[in-house]
Symmetry: C2
């Protein structure tokens, strides 16, 4: 394989995670080991910024800052949800693709790494195919990232271990709070977590259980249709037995018709009006009204996605390794693949990285297997626990200044623009 | 002062915090140093359990467990919101008071320590007065506790430093997430924190600001009437300037008439129906509709109250010291006081403990001074920052098992009952 001399471009896409910056650090550090990779550029805000020729010179950053990306949450290069949507907006997408290759050519980009979830891998796939079509010699490797853990073919996704570690610890702490309060009638708390279609995040909170009666007592997964009477009965039973009930719900919980509950305007509150609140507040209100039970809710929202202060070291290590593996694959002449994590054993936990063709990844969603959940649908079982347990091991060490995390901010030294502004 | 020989009873009351158990540890460890304190009992679930003669023998606990209370959140003895309400339920309160003294006498309780907020100090006060009235020789000292930080006369309350440390870190992380996402139109995130009447908790998130444009950009305090047009204008301005806006709101935000906004059925949603959701979702919906701006909300709820995994070591140390000081005061013959924290200097931070008569504390609420907030009412100023900054220093070290916190659970060896069951 002839050494491909040229520049590298790395960018981030989709919702941030606690460890996506670790992947970028992995790309940069590995790229620094290969002399024929000349410049190391970052694209600001994914293709949203690349289309605007907003590139920064990552070789200008301090080595300490790059290392600091391994404990800095969110997306240090900025991110976006912008897509090359050839189905809905074919003209715009074609124009964007032309523009991307103008940018690649103007800056002699020969290595392109895009870290993200399903949509971003689709973008990688299209860019790879376009490069082949144009006979433009560029190696495109996708770096997996998503707290949702719904990419296929990879054992799990960087970002997932950290979100479930933080969420499980939070459920544990909430449970210690709720269980401490003596009341005559008991109480219920609903913890809403992310996950619009896959229940991986909600399922992960089962790790908070060290004994059968530990919280969470019910986990409601978007994959399993909400059965209101069965749910209320289970809450009642739990409160009768131990005095309180901790429920975790994935935000995308659906009814039997597959309709998201929180957006369901056919559900009426006690005034006969549509319920418009989020899933946590919806269930809080349901439990309060139907069971006359004190109920409260917590909605972790973005807090869970960037919680570097209690991120998983295993996750951060794997995220960095995925970035490094992407560069090594490209240097070895590969293109059109996504790096995947391959589990070799669960106990002791052993893993390595591999490559999967991007054509197998794009737009395929990976759901929680039904047989990883108890028959009643309320709790992930030992198969899931064996899978998830290793992913939350170790704590990322974040430097503290004045009692609060001290994250890294990049200098973002801009690369000189060579093109006319985008139309 | 003659040494008062007898038993000690310590109990917890009101909403849990990350460090109220540290106060109990302080009481137990200090009590162990005084030989004439014979038995060290814990009352389960505050007076709710004491009325039921539910006492446990804390001398039976392992020393390691007692030390472990210093990193274990919530209330290891259990807690309650039960009051001796002589105003609304005079007969029940009188009966309860008789029963309490039956329990005290049956178990020769001569030292009584109740850790809690306003209501609990009121209980302490009444028990102290009753003991004097009955000539029952018992020393009653209140231990301060409340995340709300609204007890008067003490510089601040144990529990407060930890909640604002966790909340400020969370706001910092949420901001790194929101600011990373490039959008054409900007976005807004609302973080709902606790605080029904006092804004101390919301104010504390100002510590997340290291630069003028850092989050939070707006803090809405329950003490300052919500001005919707001014608020929306400020959100718009902020998004125009930096692309996003992070808003922190205390759950008890009120309108100019002093009415809590979230319970305000005169406010209608786009369907003409009363808004019933929590404060975060209420503002999220307001910003979305009025500014046509992408908006999301986070409701930290109980998660903030028990977040030992990122608690303040300063707070935990002070909480333990308050417990110790309570015992020392009682041993010195004092009764009818609450321990308070006295600040000697802010920079360097120096503090000690003092005593305040319970009659000065009970049912008095301490609000954020108006001159600690900017004129526009949207941000605590440097006076508040000087006050709050020292309270979040240092991190409590929590042991980890399997990637998650390993908190202490007490054995709870029951003390043999001597009375007939409560009617």
């Amino acid at each position: 394989m002839a050494e491909l001399v040229g520049n590298l471009l790395v960018a981030q896409s989709g919702g941030p995670t606690a460890v996506i910056n670790a992947s970028v650090a992995g790309v940069i550090q590995e790229a620094g080991r290969h002399e024929f990779i000349e410049e190391i550029y970052g694209g600001l805000n994914g293709i949203y910024g690349i289309l605007r020729e907003q590139l920064i010179d990552l070789n200008d950053e301090k080595a300490k800052s790059i290392e600091g990306l391994k404990y800095t949450p969110a997306a240090a290069l900025g991110t976006c949800r912008y897509k090359l949507d050839f189905k809905k907006k074919p003209e715009q997408a074609a124009k964007d693709m032309d523009r991307l290759f103008e940018v690649f050519q103007a800056h002699n980009i020969r290595y392109f790494f895009y870290a993200g979830g399903n949509d971003s891998q689709d973008t990688n796939h299209k860019i790879h195919e376009e490069a082949v079509k144009r006979s433009y010699d560029m190696r495109v490797i996708g770096v997996p990232k998503t707290i949702d853990n719904d990419l296929p073919h990879t054992d799990h996704c960087p970002g997932y271990g950290s979100v479930i570690k933080y969420n499980a610890a939070t459920v544990m702490e909430i449970a210690s709070d709720v269980s401490a309060m003596a009341t005559d009638d008991g109480s219920c708390i609903i913890v809403e977590v992310m996950g619009r279609s896959a229940g991986w995040i909600a399922a992960g909170t089962v790790l908070a259980k060290r004994a059968p009666d530990d919280a969470p007592h019910i986990i409601l997964l978007p994959e399993i249709a909400f059965d209101e009477p069965k749910f209320l009965e289970r809450v009642k039973e739990t409160v009768a037995r131990i005095g309180y009930c901790v429920v975790v719900v994935g935000e995308g919980l659906k009814d039997a018709a597959g309709k998201p509950l929180s957006a369901d305007s056919s559900r009426l509150d006690s005034f006969g009006h549509p319920v418009l609140s989020g899933m946590g507040e919806f269930l809080e209100s349901l439990v309060t009204k139907k069971l006359k039970l004190k109920s409260r809710s917590v909605k972790l929202g973005y807090a869970q996605r960037a919680a570097a202060h209690f991120a998983s070291q295993t996750d951060a290590t794997e995220a960095a390794a995925c970035g490094e593996a992407a560069v090594r694959a490209a240097v070895d002449g590969q293109s059109g693949f996504m790096v995947k994590i391959v589990r070799q054993s669960s106990s002791p936990y052993k893993w390595t990285t591999g490559l999967q063709p991007l054509s197998d990844i794009a737009n395929v969603e990976h759901f929680l297997p039904r047989d990883w959940v108890t028959e009643d649908g309320f709790m992930p079982n030992e198969k899931f626990i064996e899978y998830a347990q290793p992913l939350i091991q170790g704590e990322v060490k974040v430097p503290i200044e004045g009692g609060l995390p001290k994250f890294v901010t990049l200098e973002r030294s801009p690369v000189e623009k060579k093109l006319a502004p985008r139309e």
